[in-house]
């Protein structure tokens, strides 16, 4: 092992960067793993997607189906549809791969959304991470677009209806709509270039951009280091957590296998998109109960709720679909991407935030976020008006009008309750902490009193010693590398057993691989130190 690394180091100089990477500290909190679900789902998407490209034929060319699915034999189908049937029924493990791919896409975007909610509600997007937030929003848009394109590729009746709607939406853009639609779809609907074009965009263009942006997303995260929740020993100037190797690597590796396992289980056990039951898409045919995949649901819901008003502007009629299907997502994603800047304008806060906010500690943002979220959740549910009406044996019109009212009524109510709930909980002593047991004492005079027991984990807690950088930060001293190294040496040799070597020309070694570490954070403009220092209670190691 060391021979190999030496060999590599002598030629490529991997030790310096490698050590930095191996010593990267990850704050240990479960909510930081939501983005990982998205990342691992994306890896599953890549692997299953490559498998599917081996058998999928991206062509609208019509052939007579002679495959193994009897109810469609002799029908005219496109090669895209026939090859999807072939993947489902004849290719070994083809259907499980197709279903894993589809489930992974659904989970991928769901994980992106909850990851984004975590970032939003804890204020992790604040300075210096605004750029990474914008990259994340772009990633989410691309994921949704690619999901829609992939859903459309089998050329079945349900997805074909979706493309038809998408075509009309593009057409509805004032002035440039018809040019734009013909440019994207290669002519009027349906044409024969939709499937091959969507295929190229789906397997090449968008995944390429996603991988590039993902690299930027993760690169910025490594460069800026993680945010962390406030807590004992956690300051704006350090990162407390587990090291990349081996503790985090095993945790993340295990989580990758869990994600892949859950997706494989869903792909193998639960049917998704049985396109053989839907049949080939033919423009004059339509099925009822047509919904897009869940991540497009809010757009479909908005289309359903929009009354058929005719708006005339500058002497031209703006088609009704323009407002819910073009304007709404445009405004949504613009405001979402610009949010860090909007909030900064509002709070006039120009300081660097590496410590997260508990959502309850910022009631204004939390309430606003919850209200806006509830607006989109109502739109999302509105996309299944017909299925809801049918399941609950009620009138479709009643359900539709209920949603038209709810979409305006629910957000203010959610805002009010969230705001006051945050206000209440932020004032409660020990809110969000683990409950401690109370010992009830009866005094000789018959008086009762309660005493809180010590929390069990605090007995194990290590003593908090300020890192030199933190001390320097607090005293307002401009740090420079020499001071940092001296002070680092002073604190890190407190343990006799620790073989720390700060004189190593690529930085000090850390003695152990596992445990909780605190490392100083590189400050923008201040130069990176990247050195590890393990804190322990003085004298404890001599036991």
């Amino acid at each position: 092992m060391s021979q190999t690394t030496d060999w590599l180091d002598e030629r490529l100089g991997v030790a310096k960067g490698g050590r930095k990477l191996v010593n990267k500290i990850f704050p240990d909190h479960w909510s930081f793993m939501l983005g990982e679900i998205a990342l691992y789902s994306f890896i599953v998407l890549l692997f299953t997607g490559v498998f599917l490209t081996l058998f999928f034929v991206p062509s609208s060319h019509e052939i007579i189906y002679h495959g193994s699915y009897a109810p469609l034999r002799g029908q005219k189908v496109s090669e895209a549809y026939a090859s999807t049937l072939n993947i489902s029924f004849n290719v070994r493990a083809g259907l499980v791969m197709r279903q894993m791919h589809h489930w992974a896409a659904n989970v991928f975007i769901a994980a992106i959304v909850v990851h984004m909610l975590r970032i939003f509600f804890t204020g992790a997007f604040r300075k210096p991470r605004e750029m990474n937030w914008v990259v994340g929003v772009l990633l989410m848009i691309l994921a949704i677009v690619n999901g829609f394109l992939g859903y459309s590729l089998p050329d079945d009746l349900i997805s074909g209806t979706g493309i038809r709607i998408a075509f009309s939406i593009v057409l509805s853009v004032p002035v440039v709509g018809s040019y734009l639609a013909f440019l994207l779809f290669g002519g009027n609907f349906p044409g024969d270039s939709i499937i091959p074009r969507f295929y190229t965009i789906h397997v090449l263009l968008v995944p390429g951009i996603i991988i590039g942006l993902l690299a930027a997303h993760l690169g910025m995260m490594v460069r800026q280091k993680h945010t962390q929740f406030p807590g004992k020993g956690k300051t704006n100037r350090n990162v407390v957590g587990i090291a990349a190797w081996p503790a985090y690597a095993f945790q993340a590796g295990g989580f990758f296998f869990l994600t892949a396992g859950v997706l494989a289980a869903l792909g193998g056990l639960v049917q998704i998109n049985p396109i053989w039951l839907y049949g080939q898409y033919i423009p004059y045919k339509v099925s009822y109960a047509v919904q897009p995949d869940w991540y497009m649901g809010w757009l479909d819901g908005a289309l359903r709720l929009m009354p058929s008003w005719e708006t005339v502007m500058f002497g031209h009629m703006i088609p009704t679909v323009f407002f819910p299907a073009v304007l709404l997502p445009g405004v949504t994603f613009t405001i979402l991407a610009m949010w860090p800047f909007i909030e900064r304008k509002w709070t006039k806060d120009d300081s660097i935030h590496n410590l997260l906010e508990r959502p309850r500690d910022n009631p204004k943002r939390t309430a606003l976020g919850a209200a806006v979220l509830s607006f989109y959740v109502v739109l999302f549910f509105a996309s299944s008006t017909d299925v809801l009406a049918n399941s609950f044996n009620t009138s479709l019109n009643f359900v539709l009008w209920s949603f038209r009212i709810l979409v305006f009524v629910v957000p203010p109510i959610v805002w009010y309750f969230t705001f006051h709930l945050c206000k209440e909980t932020s004032g409660v002593y020990n809110a969000g902490k683990r409950k401690r047991a109370l010992v009830i004492n009866l005094s000789a005079s018959g008086e009762y009193s309660t005493v809180e027991t010590e929390p069990y984990f605090e007995k194990e807690e290590e003593e908090i010693v300020e890192l030199p950088e933190e001390v320097a930060f607090h005293s307002g001293v401009t740090e420079h590398k020499e001071t940092a190294n001296e002070l680092m040496f002073a604190t890190s040799h407190s343990s006799a057993n620790m073989k720390t070597s700060p004189t190593d020309d690529i930085g000090p070694l850390r003695s152990g691989g596992t445990g909780i570490f605190r490392i100083p954070r590189n400050v923008p403009g201040g130069g990176a130190t990247g050195m590890g220092s393990r804190k322990r209670r003085p004298g404890k190691s001599e036991e």
């Binding site: 109810p71 002799g74 989970v107 095993f250 945790q251 193998g268 056990l269 049917q271 017909d386 009138s395």
Partner: protein, 273 residues
């Protein structure tokens, strides 16, 4: 005990290694349980017999039918099925119409202001035929009870005709759906071959009537065979989620897929202290 060992132990106590094993096992179960896409069975050989034979109900049951009608139907439809303010005239509608409404349990009806719902029929087969016979005997006209010769039907042609003529309301999987203002297209799952053909030929309630000029007997038989197929379609790929498309799939994806993974993350990751 040495502190660093203790610290190492506390991290290794976390279920990260267990999670590796659990992940592998869950994945293996998913893959192993997957049976692969079994091809649908080949279509049966065609039979030279007529695709649909229309049979009048036995006329000797008309007397029995009369007494059942007076007990159960006459209060709304009148004693001679001539209709009243509460129910329409049934004379000349034919045996198939009566057979469909009674055998699917839609008649007798509790509330004439809402769409009749399918429920277990109040009458057995002979009583139903007796009613059919009685009403058909009152006036000529309408369609007799169709008997579909399923072996002569072509499943693939039926699938194409179904997606053109039926899917727009009943959905492409036959699951049914709400239409507008309390009107809905019912699910096609609980109906038998005769009832499907009756519905096509007579057009009950809001459903359009498909006469012989629109669909030939052969085409009706083809559609019936496809609807029968939809009762137990090829559900390769695992648990079918009600055949209502992405609505249920989305819920499973979010709550089972992401939900399980979030719980797993909560299990592996650290919590607030």
């Amino acid at each position: 005990m040495h502190r660093s060992l203790k610290a190492a132990g506390s991290v290794l106590n976390k279920p990260i290694f267990t999670s590796l094993a659990v992940g592998a096992t869950v994945g293996a179960i998913g893959l192993a349980a997957f049976s692969g896409g079994a091809a649908a069975s080949a279509q049966p050989a065609t039979n030279p017999q007529a695709p649909i034979v229309y049979k009048a109900p036995p006329s000797n049951l008309a007397a029995e039918g009369n007494s059942i009608f007076q007990e159960n139907c006459a209060s709304c439809h009148g004693s001679q099925a001539e209709g009243s303010a509460r129910g329409p005239n049934l004379q000349g509608l034919g045996a198939a119409t009566i057979d469909f409404w009674v055998s699917t349990g839609r008649m007798p009806l509790a509330d004439p202001t809402v769409q009749a719902i399918q429920k277990p029929s109040r009458f057995n087969r002979q009583q139903t035929l007796a009613l059919d016979s009685y009403v058909a005997s009152l006036a000529p006209g309408g369609v007799a009870i169709p008997d579909v010769n399923l072996p002569s039907a072509d499943l693939a042609r039926g699938a194409a005709l179904f997606s053109t003529n039926c899917a727009a309301c009943h959905t492409i999987t036959g699951a049914g759906d709400a239409l507008a203002s309390n009107v809905y297209a019912p699910s096609l799952k609980p109906v038998d071959a005769t009832q499907i053909a009756e519905a096509i030929r007579t057009g009950p309630a809001n459903m359009p009537r498909f006469g012989p000029g629109t669909l030939t007997n052969q085409q009706v038989a083809d559609i019936v065979s496809y609807v029968e197929y939809l009762h137990h379609p090829n559900d390769a790929g695992g648990i079918a989620l009600g055949h209502v498309g992405p609505v249920t799939e989305g819920f499973i994806g979010i709550f089972v897929g992401l939900g399980v993974l979030m719980l797993a993350g909560f299990w592996i990751g650290g919590r607030a202290k």
